[in-house]
Symmetry: C2
Subunit: 254 residues, 2 copies
Amino acid sequence: MNTNPQPVVSAGLLVIGDEILSGRTPDRNINTIARFCTELGIDLSQVRVVADDVDEVVEAVNALRTRYTHVFTTGGIGPTHDDITAQCMATAFGVELVENPEAIAMMEHRFGDSRALTAARRRMARIPAGATLIPNIVSAAPGFKIGNVYVMAGVPKIMQAMLENIAPTLEGGRRLFSRTIEVGVGESAIAGALKKIQDEYDDVKIGSYPRMGEKPVFTEVVLRGADELRLDEAAQKVHRAVNKAHAEHGVNLG
Amino acid sequence: MNTNPQPVVSAGLLVIGDEILSGRTPDRNINTIARFCTELGIDLSQVRVVADDVDEVVEAVNALRTRYTHVFTTGGIGPTHDDITAQCMATAFGVELVENPEAIAMMEHRFGDSRALTAARRRMARIPAGATLIPNIVSAAPGFKIGNVYVMAGVPKIMQAMLENIAPTLEGGRRLFSRTIEVGVGESAIAGALKKIQDEYDDVKIGSYPRMGEKPVFTEVVLRGADELRLDEAAQKVHRAVNKAHAEHGVNLG
């Protein structure tokens, strides 16, 4: 045979959280990640939802990571006692869970003062040894990548921002490009313009990720698409809209 | 120890469908079944979403059914080539897939004429040997129970009607009662009254399940709750509202 088929890039998704299994919180990440994979030409092959239980999480992540190219996890990386995902990943990979200086620095930078790093927040800097961090524009506490496993937050907006972050480096069946634009005004000041640009460029995905509950206002706009020319055109228009909004509302960017 | 703890009744859920994994269709059943289990005192312990692939489905259902008290599945019981759930269950349980006379009768009764039973529809009457049927008020083609596995439709409204059907017989940590009321007018004619009764009885769940796309109009109203007295009170009010609507709009019940 002369055909040279593209190797299948597959993925598993592990959703971690009692609140999903009890029905208290409807999952909003499965569909987002499913569409994300399809766009990138990644075959999402299986999803599992498990409880906040070390044995369950370790068993599931080991089953998925040995079987698929990539594994995504959502949930369980917050500051409370039931956030056990980092510990589970350390156990699954047989490594130590250690306070990560880079994660501490990210949170200090964000909270502006090391005193704001409470014990609960420090807990979110405990990362399996050898993992690389996934920055979190929305609320500072990072996700991480260990082996072929991408560990992300459960809050949909934070999870989406982390996905955008890993998209450019992720092996997929299809190459996607992205552009990030920093915005120093509130989302509402650019929402109308973004909508218009999105309507005009339906082959470009435009996402907006505001930093959560803090001043000064800061938002990242991320554009993603397969055609770099179209992407740059759309990004140019977003830039113009943002500059206009900055001029009107005053810029908050340092 | 003198304590006599309630045995844990557990469940696994298997969502079957390429369309969920590709992101084309957002799942709407996980949360419904999660809340249903919580109400009944059943511990939903794991959810898996797998593709329309015999090996994947068989592996997942075998993993779940040996581990949990109950297993629910959704999806893959329609009339098309990619509806393989019945075949998968036959394979998983090592039994034959046979045309079920009771299922044929249900569909004939509904379609009114055996000629309306096209080959595609007959396909939906192929049920693993030894399974018992789960009636489908909405679109006639039944689900089924084999061993501890409840096989249901993927369409949320049909799935919910099937859940209501199995609820009274399902072993749970908590006993729930139900009342079913047949309605021979369209839902809109009783929607206002149902809303008022639901608001008054927040400890009773009131569901409404119209038969799909056929005349005469027919709806089942199902009430569910732990307190039989309150349930009967609410059911009495629904009866009165239905009788009033029948008198106003003309009854379609045979």
